[in-house]
């Protein structure tokens, strides 16, 4: 246990890194995923901005990117990272890759939840003279808000999961702490403290998400 206390500063830093990676990825990836999901929904045949070509391109892109395991995805986009953020290792690099990965995952969740909104509601908004873009933002998203929050909560947990691999690329975080200070030194208390910290983090996120979704659904 004293090894843990000796490394308390490292532990704190690991928590800070994990929180940084996860929060930026959920917010940035969430925003990009929302846009992608809206494009998928809106360009679908018969919808507000029906456009076969645009739907096909985005749809194929999402289908190709989404199933790539995160570790491989992070490796594969290294040329892109060099171009955009100038590095392929470290916390920022991992956050960048994780944001992109989360965006593709969330895009499907957004699309699916928007598709469950009754088309009649869109019809009513159109009949009231609303512009398509305003219908997307002020009708469709509010109508699907409860399920959307649950979807984002789901992605938050997945992002925490993926963030544990950050250590492989020098990104730090709790996963890295558990491996380098814990299992590699046969220091099990550090492993379990890391695990417990992640469990608490996930539980807190899940609790907040469920609470917000309940409020949105008025249940």
């Amino acid at each position: 246990m004293h090894e843990f206390l000796d490394n308390l500063a490292v532990y704190r830093e690991a928590i800070r890194q994990t929180l940084f990676i996860v929060s930026i990825s959920v917010v940035a990836g969430g925003a990009l995923g929302l846009v992608l999901g809206l494009v998928l929904y809106a360009t679908r045949a018969g919808n507000l901005f029906a456009n076969r070509a645009a739907f096909l391109i985005v749809n194929v892109l999402v289908n190709v990117v989404r199933p790539i395991p995160f570790v491989i995805f992070l490796t594969a986009i290294q040329p892109l990272m060099l171009h955009t953020i100038g590095t392929t290792i470290g916390t920022n690099a991992v956050t960048f890759a994780l944001s992109l990965s989360a965006a593709f995952a969330i895009s499907r969740i957004v699309e699916q939840n928007l598709l469950t909104v009754e088309p009649g509601v869109v019809e009513a908004a159109r009949a009231a003279g609303a512009r398509p873009i305003s219908i997307l933002l002020t009708v469709l998203i509010p109508e699907a808000l409860g399920p959307l929050i649950l979807g984002y909560t789901f992605i938050f947990v997945a992002v925490v999961d993926m963030s544990a691999q950050a250590g492989l690329f020098g990104g730090g975080g709790l996963g890295d702490f558990a491996i380098t200070y814990g299992s590699q030194r046969y220091n099990w208390p550090i492993v379990y403290i890391s695990v417990a910290t992640i469990v608490v983090l996930v539980q807190a996120g899940q609790f907040l998400g469920s609470w917000l979704a309940r409020r949105a659904l008025r249940r």
């Binding site: 009754e118 009649g120 509601v121 019809e123 009513a124 908004a125 159109r126 009949a127 009231a128 003279g129 609303a130 512009r131 305003s134 002020t138 009708v139 509010p142 109508e143 808000l145 949105a216 008025r218």
Partner: protein, 370 residues
């Protein structure tokens, strides 16, 4: 073919005009044939009237409404709102036109994420009406539909009839001159249907809103509409006042839709029962309709009503009412009566000939083996 079945009254202002409108949807799937939903439809709706469109499901009724508020564009022909042709407007112009056209739906289509007041306020927000004015109008509309006390509830807490009243308030929010009603009562029970229809009647009379209502329910059209168009597989087969079309459909399609409604003839079983009675006379069914029998011979009677009793009496035929009924349609009597006529065959024939000569619709029920 394209000439409207009934030339519009020159004095009445035309609010909605469809001119040889066709609408074809591409078939689903690569090899599917295109689907013709509306074919060469022409009709005129006068300002301030309730215009009904009746047809069985799949006849193109909903598409017709969506063409009027520009949510669909016709494949051929033109749609006019007053003097404006919708096809000549760009998307923005059509959106603005929708501010003057409200629409209510069979499934209500309320926003679940908004309160009752929020639903009614939505079209006002879209139209850019400021908050204080919006609140005032929402309160007035909710009072009009009798739901002021439910303003802060969400729609899921309302009954079907209440939901539709919110739908009506929302459709009226921007004070449109035209209201499109798409099967608005088909999801409601009979009692609630009556309430919603009464409210729509009030909207028409008190607010002077022109209403186009499509329905497959005869009751809805009969109780609300002034004039009606009969839509049969994408074509308007008949247009006229509800009284004329319901009491004397001129086409087989219209007769098929409406025929069973007001021209009730006894079923074969009832006929057999009637024949087994003590009378033993011939059974004829006479349509009762204001204006019938006011033909050439009406002069002789000094313009009096045909007077069935008078004709039977003059031919020494005894007539007994055995079936049928007369009710009110647009404030005028309409229905049918089945008589059992007793007398010499020649006298009965002469009486029937006299009625037919007066323009009365008479059908002799076929003699069964009963």
């Amino acid at each position: 073919m394209s000439v409207p079945a009934e030339p519009a009254d020159a004095r009445a202002e035309i609010h909605v005009r469809l001119e040889r409108v066709g609408k074809t949807f591409p078939g689903r799937g690569r090899r599917a044939a295109p689907v013709v939903v509306l074919d060469d439809v022409s009709l005129e709706v006068r300002r301030g009237e309730v215009f009904g469109v009746i047809g069985s499901s799949g006849a193109g009724k909903s598409t017709l409404l969506r063409l009027i508020n520009g949510l669909e564009t016709p494949t051929s022909g033109r749609v006019y709102l007053g003097e404006r042709e919708l096809g000549a407007l760009n998307e923005r112009g059509r959106r603005e036109a929708r501010g003057d056209t409200g629409m209510i739906f069979q499934q209500f289509n309320l926003f679940r994420s908004r309160t009752v007041a929020g639903n009614v306020a939505y079209p006002l927000k879209v139209a850019g009406v400021g908050q204080p004015e919006r609140d005032r109008r929402v309160a007035r509309l909710l009072a009009f539909v009798g739901l002021l006390d439910r303003a802060h509830d969400h729609p899921e807490r309302l009954s079907g009839g209440q939901k539709q009243r919110v739908g009506i308030a929302r459709a009226l929010a921007t004070e449109p001159s035209l209201l499109l009603v798409d099967e608005a009562t088909s999801a409601l029970d009979p009692e609630t249907t009556g309430e919603v229809l009464a409210l729509l009647g009030q909207v028409n009379r008190e607010l002077g809103v022109t209403i186009v209502i499509v329905s497959h329910e005869l009751d809805v059209i009969r109780s609300l509409a002034d004039r009606v168009a009969v839509l049969d597989v994408g074509r308007v087969v008949e247009t006229g006042t509800v009284y004329d079309v319901f009491t004397r459909p001129r086409t087989t399609a219209a007769a098929r839709l409406i025929g069973t409604d007001l021209r009730e003839r006894p079923s074969p079983a009832t006929l057999a029962r009637l024949r087994s009675g003590p009378g033993g006379g011939r059974l004829v069914t006479v349509r009762v309709r204001e204006g019938d029998g006011e033909g050439e011979r009406a002069e002789e009677r000094g313009g009096a009503r045909p007077g069935l009793a008078h004709v039977f009496l003059a031919h020494q035929v005894a007539a007994e009412v055995v079936f049928g009924g007369i009710r009110e349609l647009q404030g005028r009597p309409a229905g049918s009566l089945t008589f059992e006529l007793s007398g010499a065959d020649a006298a009965v024939d002469a009486a029937l000939a006299a009625l037919r000569a007066d323009g009365v619709d008479v059908v002799e029920e076929p003699a069964g083996n009963a």
